[in-house]
Symmetry: C2
Subunit: 860 residues, 2 copies
């Protein structure tokens, strides 16, 4: 089995085998990008390692052989004191997991070699040695990193310096001495084998497992190991190290973007310990290097047809590319880059459409802080992940993780580390005092779409005493602040957040998407304001207008009268009719010429009365008015064991037809009123909780009669449609019979998921679903992502049965929350639905997902 | 279109066209049974009539022609005063609906004819005339029957006689005179046409519609009309009329059984107005007639291969058979007759098995009154429908119908009429003062399997004042009595009812059934007593042992400790383990060598704690102990919105594994204990509320470990199986994945029906299902009869998926209530289940139904 690949033996297609980092290094080598010589140990070797729990002799042998090739190419020799070859040993999984696994740099040093090195550059020699000793000690020898930090800090104090760079050679020598007392450094060759093993092991460290869980990555791929000659950015003032994006990862602008540090190694940037310089300064200070980097960037972009994230090092004026990978970017950048690349002729429209993670668009429509005169901007940091957030200050990831579900928190840290991930995901926003826009906090936040401000050096965080000093202001844990990840501002106190608008590039992308998609996209909207928002985002109709809210607010007293007092029922219905008519008229006005699916009352009557528990309390306390007594009796009568499966929707309407009669009349009267006012209403009347076609027949009997009556009274007619909401398994099996009775059906997949799984959402989420996800009993939350195995099968059955009766004559849609979720939309496309309906804010996602589904479907 | 059939033109196969009565008359005519000449108007004519709402001229023409044929055969002439032909005009639907539609006898009379008739037999002439006038008046002319009764009663009072027969000729003449003042009698021919129309119309009278609804008969068949020469049982003392069953309809004994009246017309018997003589007296008084009747009875039985119910009349010593039909009989008789007929060589075993209505067996296992020394037998009537009943006296059908759902009532009437049917069905038992064993009350009760005592002449019912006098005792409405329909006894006060045992013939029939059935029949039984009963009725195993009850009673305090006090959890589990072990051991002892499917705890924990509402009340009243405070907090925590879809069964077990661990251990320890005591335990461990195969995997992980531990501790191993209860739609769709994990699956169709329809049974039955059945939105109650369209389709999907993985290796059963319902069992057979499990009392039904399913399946 071939387990080691020289760079010329691999290519970018071999990610699975070589890991992403390794494959990209091979690819760069092949296309002539200057990379330090090296080779890759394949992921297969990692998988074997986890079976055998030790490095095989075969692997060791082959490593030694490959090493000889590097020695030949560099003219240096591993372990040789005169002309030593130093190595970097880096992890690289098939799917990049930045910062999650281990890396060891400067490997191959020992006292003798360092002594020799010191002859030419003493400071460099000891600086590199102390870096290697602590890195090797921490990662390979498992020594607590605090011990190294302590020694380091002690010497900084002794020398009264702030940064590592300022330490004297003497101090460095002392540090090395003290480091060496912590463990015994093995021989260079032993170092190499131990480092390889440590990298393998890091595939299964806690951080990495957690990361894979969050990102839904499989656990059995293993990592590759890249072994490469070291190049040094810390050999002097003509040396530097940096990170560059070929475009701006925040907003997508076409420009080299990144940072660098002179006389430093890469880890100094990533760790956020030193504040690096922006790449614009590179252009000033090293114009030749900048130019070469720019050219390499363009070359890589054209080659990979995507924006790249490049690590580079300049050793004594010579530029080396250490790594390239598809760059992470904000949703906003992602859209802009995709659209720009189409315009630049790099990719085509289909590629642009399918490249965007549809879910990410939600992040794109970021909230902004409402500008007012009295915003107290107390500090400014680097804008690292766009969007605004408000919340209570939280100093630790543990705490944020604990309370983040219940309260809005902003995690405030000097810097974040991969260990903080559990707190980051539960925070509204991240604010750090240190680090740049490629620091851990920044990268992770952008990936998760969480607003983030980094490098806000004005923050003096005193974790132990639990306060922050910011330019004279004292903030305590629990105080409310806001951050703006788009501007870098930190604001004191509560602020109002406002919704964002569609950016131009997204509009363009969605226009392209509209050319490709087959599914229509409607919105779930109850109020005229929602409808307006839906239209703005591109909705072609309203797929679900719930009428429950029309029975609340100032109508509640009328509704209660209707329920409680038979003698006032007629009067109550009359009043409600007038109110509903207005509701529908306003909606029709906004949606002029577009369909509006109105679901007749779905909720059980007891939802309009006070809660039983509250009444009992009052009753026992003897504070019952005679009216409350009547209410109490009715509440008792209507009380249900399982209201979700109870007396509601069409069931209620069959027993008490007046409600639907009134609603049908209101819809039709409003439609005619719209017509008389120059608008076009296209009403779809939808009947909820259907389990049998006879239910529809029964309802149709009387509402059609009522509608005909309205036509006669008004002397005018309008087109309308009647449909059924399919949200019970039984309805799916009789969808053919239902299809005979209706013009359209719409899947209510929220309830369908509840009944298919037998999960009461209210109870399940609180009581056991969390543990189900944790134990991986369910891979995904079926209330978020449509369950194709069960719910999806039911939908397929229903669609087939309905189409068998009416073919394309019957309109079939979905209006559960899944209607705005990309995977679910893909499924809806596949099984032949006509439309998806979702919340106005997810319309963009739905338009894009629908187009992606069409494109993927046609490519197959 | 041929719409009229002479008797020789029809046959018994033509029921649909000629109605049952007409077809049987034709058949009798063909096989040489003496029937009066006549013809039949087909049901098609009736259907046409309902379209046109009048008799067609064509029909009238053809009636006149057919009439001529009768005139030829009888030598009499319709409407002729010298030698008049009188006719009976009778209804007869394709499916017999006794007493529900109308009949007119003695048709063709008028003043002139009667005058002539009177010359030879004056009393007969006027008696017949007054009968005809009232019957025609009531049925055809729609005159209130009370008016005729009033006149009749007035003359009885004047002449101080009790029965109609005792009236003088003079009185009859006066009665006729007064009757004729009520309406104008049309000409004989007009009478005939009007009578035909009235019979047609009676197809759609309220009684008939109600009857068809109860018996699930279609409304569009129409009735035939039989027109036949009258023969007279009331021409003198050598005339009689009677009803005879070829076997005893109560117990199935082979004997002529029935009653007759001398000098009477048939209606005198059916109406129950005169108390007839038993057929044994016919044997004494008219041995020749008796012999001829016996022979005809046997001939008809052999011909029809079933017991017959014969109406006969003797006119001047000549026997005529007026009607034969398959006799209604009690379930007990039905079984005995089927078994006897196999033994007599009339039918074969398969016929015997398929002939029995499996549902009726439930009635067969009738309750009996527990004999004690102090039973107060206050009267005796005729035993008309077997079984015993206890309840409160109710004087009216309306009242019985109203309160019969909530309370047990005995309907007590002088006699019942078809108008009383709504009250009869809601009563536990029927008791009448008048009428014989073929009276309305008797026939209807037997059909419905309701215990009934008739002709209890000791009852003096004073309806208006609301009391009964019985041999000196006064009973008021609402007082409790018992009746024994097997013995005819009426008993005062509350009595204890006991279950009956299998009769010999049923045992035989079920043995035969066992030869044919493929489905195994198990019982749902939780306790050793239930298990014993199940074995007695022939169960081959326990298909569902619920363990909930094992957490109640004296174990409840332990269970509460387990839930409430973490520190005592361990101890509580230990105690519960010992208790459960005993429970299972006792069950294994009884079921020695037969499988026992034990369902692990299914109920949510809050079911073992006090009700929230009760605690709230107590809390508000300030009467909370500190322990109650803890309980209240826990109850609040565990409270659910929809407990049916909540935190229970496997879900609870995944979050809190200790309960299932303990139960698995108890099962296995008990099995080993059984083995050590010489019994063979075959435990099946069943996991409830499964929605995904991963749930099973998770549970198996730890219970198998626990079981292995027990094996190690005890140094013994036993076979056991693990299975899943499939009661959620999702589980059906992943039944293949589930099948990989389990040895057996069992459909819990109660819950599966709830989730498939989205009906909470508790709420639906109370709030809307009644109206759904009334409005025929649902044809049948899906909780009683398995819904094949939805639930059944899900089961099919699951069976196919499971069999695809494991073929016949996986055992598939059903343990919902449907497992004891014949239609549902048929369905389970068809889709290839291995077993049905039902309540012990329905085992017999299940054995028979399973055999019927096999036989029907093989015949196809």
């Amino acid at each position: 089995m071939k387990i080691i690949y020289l760079f010329e033996e691999g290519s970018k297609e071999m990610k699975e085998l070589l890991g992403n980092k390794g494959a990209q290094l091979c690819e760069m080598y092949r296309i002539g990008v200057p990379v330090p010589p090296g080779f890759v140990i394949s992921t297969k070797a990692c998988i074997s390692y986890f079976k055998e729990r030790k490095l095989s002799d075969d692997l060791k042998q082959k490593v030694i052989e490959a090493l000889k090739e590097i020695e030949k190419r560099t003219g240096k020799k591993f372990g040789d004191k005169k002309n030593p070859l130093l190595l970097s040993v880096r992890s690289g999984a098939p799917v990049s997991m930045p910062g999650m696994m281990d890396t060891i740099l400067n490997l191959g040093l020992n006292d003798e070699i360092v002594e020799e090195l010191a002859k030419s550059n003493e400071w460099f020699a000891y600086d590199t040695y102390r870096r290697f000793l602590s890195m090797f000690g921490e990662i390979v020898m498992n020594i607590d990193k605090d011990k190294f930090e302590e020694i380091m800090n002690k010497w900084k104090e002794i020398e009264k310096v702030k940064s590592d760079q300022e330490l004297s050679v003497n101090a460095l020598k002392e540090i090395v001495k003290e480091y060496k007392e912590l463990y015994k450094l093995p021989s260079p060759q032993e170092q190499l084998f131990m480092a390889i093993e440590a990298v393998f092991k890091s595939w299964n460290n806690e951080r990495a497992i957690h990361y894979r869980k969050i990102h839904n990555l499989p656990d059995d791929l293993g990592t590759g190991v890249v072994i490469q000659a070291m190049v040094f950015g810390n050999l002097g003032e003509d040396c530097l190290t940096g990170v560059a994006f070929t475009r701006n990862p925040s907003d997508g602008k076409k420009e080299l973007y990144g940072e660098f540090l002179i006389n430093a190694q890469g880890e100094d940037i990533v760790s956020g310990r030193r504040n690096p310089m922006p790449i614009s300064i590179l252009k000033e200070k090293f114009p030749e290097i900048y130019k070469e980097l720019l050219e390499i960037g363009e070359k890589l972009e054209r080659h990979y047809k995507d924006m790249q994230d490049i690590e580079f090092t300049v050793e004594k004026g010579k530029l080396y590319i250490l790594q390239t990978r598809t760059a992470k970017r904000t949703a906003k950048a992602s859209v802009k880059i995709a659209v720009d690349m189409v315009n630049e002729g790099i990719i085509d429209k289909k590629e642009a459409i399918t490249r965007i993670d549809a879910n990410s668009l939600e992040k794109l429509l970021h909230k902004q802080i409402k500008k007012t005169d009295n915003l107290k901007i107390i500090a400014r940091g680097l804008p690292a992940s766009p969007g605004a957030a408000v919340g209570k200050i939280c100093f630790s990831a543990d705490k944020a993780s604990m309370i983040g579900d219940k309260e809005k928190v902003i995690l405030v840290r000097n810097e974040t580390t991969p260990d903080d991930i559990h707190g980051v995901v539960k925070s509204q926003g991240i604010l750090t005092a240190r680090g740049g826009i490629t620091s851990h906090a920044a990268v992770v936040s952008r990936g998760l779409g969480i607003p983030c401000v980094v490098g806000c050096s004005a923050l003096k965080i005193n974790e132990e005493e639990g306060y922050i000093e910011v330019n004279g202001t004292i903030l305590k844990e629990g105080d409310t602040i806001a951050i703006d990840g788009t501007t870098g501002e930190v604001i004191l106190g509560e602020v109002e957040l406002i919704e964002a608008e569609l950016i131009e590039e997204l509009k363009k992308l969605l226009e392209w998407a509209d050319e490709y998609r087959r599914l229509k996209v409607y919105a779930n909207a109850d109020l005229p304001e929602d409808a307006k928002k839906a239209l703005y985002f591109g909705a072609e109709g309203i797929g679900l207008c719930r009428t429950e809210h029309m029975f609340l607010g100032n109508r509640l007293p009328i509704v209660r009268e209707m329920i409680l007092d038979k003698s006032k029922k007629r009067e109550a219905f009359k009043k409600l009719l007038e109110e509903q008519k207005k509701d529908f008229f306003e909606l029709f006005k906004v949606m002029d010429g577009k369909p509006v699916v109105i679901r007749l009352l779905d909720a059980p009557l007891h939802e309009f009365l006070p809660k039983y528990e509250d009444l009992v309390e009052k009753k026992i306390k003897g504070r019952f008015s005679s009216k409350e007594k009547i209410i109490f009796e009715k509440v008792k009568e209507l009380k249900e064991v399982n209201p979700m499966l109870g007396f509601r929707g069409v069931r209620l309407a069959i027993v008490e037809p007046e409600i639907y009669k009134m609603q049908a009349r209101a819809i039709i009267e409003a439609s005619i009123m719209a017509m008389e006012n120059g608008y076009k209403a296209i009403p779809y009347i939808e009947i909820p909780i259907v389990s049998d076609a006879n239910e529809i027949k029964e309802i149709k009997k009387y509402i059609i009669k009522e509608i005909e009556k309205v036509f006669k009274e008004k002397g005018k007619e309008i087109d309308y449609k009647i449909g059924a909401m399919i949200e019970l398994p039984r309805a799916c099996f009789v969808a053919d019979e239902i299809a005979k009775e209706v013009d359209f059906i719409s899947f209510g997949t929220n309830d369908l998921t509840q009944t298919t799984f037998g999960y009461s959402r209210d109870d399940a989420e609180e009581e056991f679903l969390g543990i189900y996800f944790e134990k991986k009993i369910l891979e995904k939350d079926p209330f978020s992502v449509l369950d194709e195995k069960g719910v999806g099968e039911l939908m397929k059955i229903a669609v087939n049965k309905a189409r068998k009766i009416k073919g394309k004559e019957i309109e079939i849609g979905i209006c559960g929350e899944h209607g705005g979720e990309p995977n679910s939309i893909r499924f809806c496309h596949k099984i032949g639905l006509d439309l998806v309906s979702c919340s106005p804010y997810r319309i963009a996602i739905a338009r894009l997902s629908a187009a992606q589904a069409s494109i993927i479907d046609n490519n197959k």
